[in-house]
């Protein structure tokens, strides 16, 4: 037990479990004691969450949001990989660098343009989301490509690989685990954007619309419940992507665990 306050201390599984449960209880207790009339108490939220979890309303909206996110991420990954792989060609390098800088553009300014370019609310949301995610994906992936050790390329050279073969081996095959890792790390950003984007076109529903509706009626209990659901879904995806990575690419399990 005393290890938990020691720098780089290691704790066994049971201690870890006890510690986490303790921390959760403390947090709930803190919440319970500090919340006044306006902020709902944990028990109230718990009840609302329970009711919400058994409602069609929640699940229908979750499915809409998850489908939209997954679709946007899949397309974003394809776009990212295309430009990042080719970024080793000088012509595409500048384009990739430009995409990276697009992080600084806010989505809000593009709604009008995208509304003109797209046919309906679904398309609008999808394109906004993709446009929002791609710069982050490209940023992360370029960082991975740039940090490639020189020796990986040199090993290919000594084996007599052509430049295209080297690109395939080192950047495409060799970085496959990093693609999973980037999707995983940036999932949080996509998940953050979904609630934003869904606000722009409420017609199709989605968990973001639900959140906005409850917010409008000052239904704080349900707002917090939905926040918890969103949080848990995020954790679930994080876990799923981590598991899929090791499943498809067994060697990735030897790497140290990222945050």
């Amino acid at each position: 037990m005393k290890h938990i306050f020691r720098p780089f201390g290691r704790v066994d599984r049971t201690t870890l479990a006890i510690m986490i449960v303790g921390q959760i209880i403390l947090a709930l207790l803190f919440w319970h004691l500090t919340s006044n009339g306006l902020i709902p108490k944990p028990l109230q939220v718990g009840k609302a969450l329970g009711a919400l979890l058994f409602s069609r309303l929640l699940w229908d909206n979750i499915i809409i949001s998850v489908l939209l996110t997954v679709k946007a991420m899949a397309i974003a990954v394809i776009i990212t990989l295309f430009f990042s792989y080719l970024s080793v060609l000088p012509f595409f390098h500048t384009i990739a660098r430009f995409l990276v800088k697009c992080r600084y553009l806010t989505l809000t300014g593009f709604i009008f343009i995208f509304t003109l370019l797209t046919q309906n609310g679904g398309q609008l949301k999808l394109s906004l989301l993709i446009f929002g995610i791609v710069p982050f994906f490209v940023t992360s992936f370029l960082a991975v490509i740039i940090s490639t050790e020189r020796q990986q390329y040199e090993l290919c050279k000594t084996l007599g690989y052509t430049n295209w073969e080297t690109l395939y081996e080192v950047v495409i095959v060799g970085k496959a685990d990093q693609v999973f890792e980037i999707v995983r790390q940036n999932f949080a950003i996509s998940w953050l954007m979904i609630t934003l984007v869904e606000g722009y076109s409420m017609g199709e529903g989605g968990i973001g619309t639900l959140l906005i509706k409850y917010n409008k009626y000052n239904d704080l209990t349900n707002v917090i419940s939905i926040q918890i659901v969103i949080f848990l879904l995020g954790l679930l995806f994080d876990y799923l992507l981590g598991t899929l990575k090791v499943w498809f690419l067994p060697y990735s399990k030897f790497e140290s665990q990222p945050l």
Binding site: Q152, E154, L155, K157, T158, L159, E169
Partner: protein
């Protein structure tokens, strides 16, 4: 012992290397000749010895065709400038594709060698057997020990089928037993083909001298910038090459002293 030195296999001529204004290598000149012994497939084992930081790895990269000298040339097989891919290269940290199993890595190397066409699998298993690596073929590099990685790396570069095998510090970080095994394996490799030529870059004088037929000592000359070859020792002429249990002989120990004085 009867032997003759005939054709030039590799020629290093007037190699200089600068980083900015700092000279790392100066006027490096040497030739590696094919050693012929009657009734044997005797390859060549050449060592480049020098202190840490003297410029061995830089010279290694130039020999491998991975780095260009500021001036001078490295040529193989009758005046052809060396380029990456002409030599098998075993890096100091035994670099492998971390995302490939040992077997796949070896297979990729074997497929690049036209001489092995259709016999890749056999060749891999043969080497794996010789190098004690059969049970590790299905593993990833991260699951191997340093010595196993090194052997995998050596096999990978040998499957490539080039006459030259360059090794950067192959004796560092190995325990005594593994070291003996590596020495044995390298000697076997050197006897596998008449033209097989191992170039070993090392600061381990004892092991390098014990395994080689020629030693070049890299060092600084008084008052001059950059490292150059201060001494060439022909171990065949001294009757110190190709012998087992050489380490106890007086001539061997004297030679080590002689080299140490130059470092």
């Amino acid at each position: 012992m009867e032997y003759t030195k005939t054709d030039v296999l590799l020629k290093v001529k007037d190699v200089n290397l600068f980083y900015g204004t700092k000279q790392i290598l100066r006027d490096i000149n040497f030739e590696i000749k094919d050693i012929v012994r009657p009734g044997m497939k005797q390859g060549q084992v050449v060592s480049l010895i020098g202190r840490s930081g003297i410029g061995k790895t830089q010279l290694f990269r130039i020999l491998a065709g991975l780095g260009k000298p500021s001036s001078g040339t490295v040529t193989i097989s009758k005046d052809k400038p060396v380029k990456a891919g002409d030599m098998g290269v075993v890096f100091q940290n035994y670099y492998l594709f971390e995302w490939r199993t040992v077997y796949t890595s070896l297979e990729l190397a074997a497929k690049k060698n036209p001489a092995l066409k259709g016999k890749e699998k056999e060749a891999i298993y043969k080497y794996a057997e010789d190098f004690n690596l059969t049970e590790h073929l299905k593993r990833y590099p991260k699951e191997l020990s340093g010595g196993q990685r090194q052997r995998a790396s050596i096999i990978q570069q040998m499957l490539n089928g080039t006459d030259f095998l360059l090794l950067d510090e192959p004796f560092s970080g190995l325990d005594i037993l593994v070291l003996d095994r590596v020495v044995e394996l390298l000697l076997d490799v050197s006897l596998s083909d008449e033209l097989k030529t191992l170039i070993i870059v090392s600061h381990d004088i004892g092991t390098s001298v014990a395994i080689s037929d020629t030693v070049y000592v890299l060092g600084h000359e008084e008052g001059k910038p950059g490292a150059t070859i201060k001494k060439e020792i022909d171990l065949c002429a001294r009757d110190l090459a190709w012998k087992k249990n050489i380490r106890t002989e007086k001539a061997f120990i004297d030679t080590l002293q002689e080299i140490k004085a130059e470092l």
